[in-house]
């Protein structure tokens, strides 16, 4: 009774050391059991998936392993493959990429001017960097602002003063705004727009001519029909992306507006554009417009396509952003009102930063779709990288009959661009931490 311990034969005084888990619960085996063979259904699916992968690899590997890079024609490729790997061997003929890659990248852009196009691309990244990454010095934004004119000048060439004077229109508008802003936005805004229009329509022409005569600063001009391949896709894509975002924001705000006319016009525009296939718009741009424009008028085909792609993407962006606006709690709008902010101040400081943050994945999806849609310009006779250039390459006797290699090459480049955009949007989302709001 008194000595309870004595009545027991054994009392453990210390804890047993933990034993290693059984082999079936550790390491790779556990991972396999948990992830791949956790039940009859998953086991079957795993086996099916593995056999499908194996089938693809078995069939694709010899073709990729028998790659030929040095040849001048498809038949030469075939001879090399047969001589090296046997009579029945098949293989990839990457020689077509090796010989024609400039055409896939630059279309018919004059080869001695490739440097200019590359400079435009490098400057594009330099101009985009301060917009995309807030950590960079803000002074670089001046390059971003100047880039539209600079990029245009480098790609198309011609007189420097033409794009410069076009950009000067914005400076004129800014000056008018600054001069009149004391009198209120209602006066300053129309005045700024009017000043820019007057500049573009009446003054820019003579001033350009005058500057050309006084200080000729021109480089070799390149016509739009020389553009093709990725230089065309990137030009259209970048121009349309950068133009469609502001336009889409304006449309989204217009659709949420209380003003009847603004709202009605925005709704009509968005619904009409979203209801029409892009190819239809491109056909209108390239063919139907010619019936209405006075004969001999030279309305650049790339500009027409950029306008059409822009308004097409803007309609989608507007709806994506409207989703972001709708997701904001009503209290945010009321808070802005209670602070006494004007409409534009409220949008700028409270509403849009939150709404855009919510909309990032949707916006980037639209951009990626837009960039891929640039290949549709093949239907209006522009040589896009996917089909236009590929068909042109195939139409030569040397490369007739080649099929997969150009597609794979072009697909890989598109993937690189789009994957980059996707990763950037994920970086932006993480940085803005929209999940921990």
């Amino acid at each position: 009774m008194t000595d309870t311990t004595a009545a027991r034969a054994f009392v453990r005084r210390e804890m047993l050391p933990p034993q290693a888990p059984p082999p079936s619960q550790t390491g790779a085996i556990r991972w396999l059991r948990e992830n791949l063979f956790s039940g009859p259904l998953n086991t079957v699916l795993t086996i099916l998936g593995l056999s499908a992968t194996a089938w693809i690899v078995i069939h694709l590997y010899p073709w990729l392993a028998h790659s030929v890079w040095n040849a001048n024609s498809l038949s030469e490729c075939r001879q090399i493959i047969q001589a090296t790997w046997g009579e029945d061997a098949t293989g990839a003929c990457w020689a077509v990429i090796r010989e024609r890659w400039p055409q896939f990248l630059f279309g018919f852009y004059p080869s001695h001017l490739y440097g200019r196009a590359l400079l435009a691309l490098v400057l594009l990244f330099a101009a985009l960097a301060p917009v995309l990454f807030a950590g960079l010095p803000r002074r670089m934004l001046w390059l971003s602002a100047a880039y539209p004119a600079l990029g245009y000048w480098l790609l198309w060439g011609g007189s420097f003063w033409y794009p410069a004077m076009l950009m000067a229109g914005f400076a004129v508008a800014a000056l008018a705004w600054r001069a009149l802003s004391a009198r209120g936005a209602l006066v300053a805004m129309p005045a700024a727009v009017a000043a820019a229009l007057v500049w573009w329509f009446w003054l820019a022409g003579p001033v350009t001519a005058g500057l050309d005569a006084a200080l000729p600063l021109a480089i070799e001009a390149v016509r739009s029909d020389k553009f093709g391949g990725f230089i065309l896709a990137v030009t259209i894509g970048v121009a349309a992306i950068s133009l469609s975002l502001p336009l889409g924001i304006m449309l989204a705000l217009g659709r949420k507006s209380d003003m009847f006319l603004v709202k009605a016009l925005s709704v009509c525009f968005i619904e009409f554009i979203r209801g029409v296939p892009l190819i239809t718009l491109l056909f209108v741009a390239s063919l139907l417009l010619n019936y209405f424009l006075p004969p001999g008028s030279n309305f650049d085909i790339i500009l027409r396509v950029v306008i059409m792609v822009t308004i097409f993407a803007a309609a989608y962006i507007a709806e994506v952003i409207r989703g972001g606006l709708a997701a904001l709690p009503r209290g945010q709008y009321e808070a802005a009102d209670s602070l006494g902010l004007t409409y534009w101040q409220a949008q700028q400081l409270i509403i849009l930063p939150q709404a855009l943050k919510i909309s990032i994945p949707g916006i980037v999806s639209t951009f990626i779709g837009l960039f891929k849609d640039t290949t549709l310009v093949v239907f209006v006779g522009l040589l896009d990288p996917l089909k236009g250039i590929t068909d042109a390459v195939r139409a030569t006797i040397e490369w007739k009959g080649i099929y997969w290699e150009p597609y794979i090459f072009v697909g890989a480049i598109f993937f690189a661009f789009n994957f980059g955009m996707s990763r950037y949007s994920m970086y932006l989302e993480r940085k803005l931490k929209r999940d921990h709001r």
Binding site: L74, R78, E99, R100, P102, Q103, G107, F108, S111, D225, K226, F283, S286, L287, L288, N290, Y291, F292, P294, P295, G296, V378, F379, V380, G381, L383, K387, G388, T390, D391, A392, V393, R394, A395, T396, I397, K400, G401, Y403
Partner: protein
């Protein structure tokens, strides 16, 4: 009411565009460049090389017209057109001339309001099958699956042919020639049908051409030729006679090698009139005396030389002249007299 106003405006705009663009010759001269619609890429007929220089059988027509009108065969802006856009591009005035292996048909000539200025290649639709299919005639293709390009005359010819012979078939619609080859090689269809010239080029590009045969039947007439818009007869005349000049030059033995010699004057008055040493035929079509000489040089020679250089038997495409021989050789080429 609003619709009718809108349609009225449309019609007026179209009529305006039509009437103003009447003088194509002046427009081309003022522009200093010929806008020529070509295929986006068809082996032997139109293809850009690695440097973007176009060449081919149809392209030679563009060069000849540019040389005759502007004096320089390189002053051509090639506008690649697809099967869907080619007619709109021509009707809307985006191009002055369409040289894109286009079949001359009644409805295209009349309903679409184009003028075919002649035929530069007499083609016909044929079939290609694998040898191990054991078929030696198109009449044995009952129940076959056939790869066929959509939106072309070949689609309609195929239906007509099988119907008139009481045969059944399953069409496999394809968009482009390259896709058709791939489908055919992958076994998606028993037979591939398109113009015989295209079949020959396709077969030549196969890894195993000996295992495929082109059936002897030609089931349609495909006169391919350049065309212009209705309503400008002077421009139609110019393109028509440039084409005729190329054909006639072969008939009279005028080649790129001897043309300079012959242009100094010959015993043959027909050659003299063609090359402008006698008479002034060019003035009738708004050009100078040397127009035909420039056209022949600019195109790279007479019809026979162009044929041999782009699609003839010495090229990998290896087309025989066949129907496209001179009438004196049993073909259909017959240029009206230059007089």
């Amino acid at each position: 009411m609003k619709t009718s106003v809108f349609l009225g405006t449309l019609t007026a705009a179209a009529a305006l565009a039509g009437s103003v663009s009447a003088a194509t010759l002046d427009e081309v001269k003022a522009r200093g460049e010929l806008n020529c619609g070509v295929n986006t890429g068809l082996v032997g007929f139109a293809a850009p090389d690695a440097n973007g220089n176009w060449s081919g059988f149809d392209v030679a027509i563009c060069k000849a017209v540019a040389a005759a009108v502007l004096g320089d065969p390189s002053k051509v802006k090639y506008v690649p057109t697809t099967g869907q856009t080619r007619f709109t591009a021509l009707a809307s005035g985006e191009i002055d001339l369409l040289a894109r292996n286009t079949t001359w048909t009644f409805s295209r000539d009349t309903d679409l309001k184009f003028t075919f200025v002649g035929v530069n290649y007499y083609d016909g639709q044929g079939f290609m099958v694998r040898k191990d299919l054991g078929v030696s005639s198109a009449k044995e293709l009952d129940g076959a699956t056939v790869c066929i390009q959509t939106g072309t005359t070949t689609e309609l010819n195929l239906a007509d042919y099988f119907k008139s012979n009481n045969l059944s078939y399953t069409p496999v619609a394809i968009e482009t020639n390259a896709e058709g080859e791939q489908q055919y090689l992958a076994g998606a269809c028993d037979a591939y049908t398109t113009d015989a010239s295209g079949l020959a080029a396709t077969r030549a590009a196969f890894a195993d051409p000996e295992n495929h045969i082109i059936l002897p039947e030609i089931i349609s007439k495909e006169p391919l030729g350049p065309l212009v818009r209705h309503g400008d007869d002077q421009w139609a005349d110019i393109t028509r006679w440039v084409l005729n000049a190329l054909v006639a030059a072969e008939e009279y033995g005028v080649t790129s090698a001897n043309i300079e010699e012959l242009a100094k004057g010959t015993q043959n008055p027909e050659i003299n009139r063609l090359l402008g040493t006698e008479g002034d035929l060019g003035a009738f079509i708004g050009l100078d005396k040397d127009w035909a000489k420039r056209a022949i040089i600019g195109a790279g020679g007479n019809y026979g030389e162009i044929f041999a250089a782009t699609i003839g038997e010495s090229t990998p495409i290896g087309l025989a002249r066949g129907l496209n021989a001179q009438w004196t050789q049993g073909g259909l080429l017959y240029a009206p007299p230059f007089r």
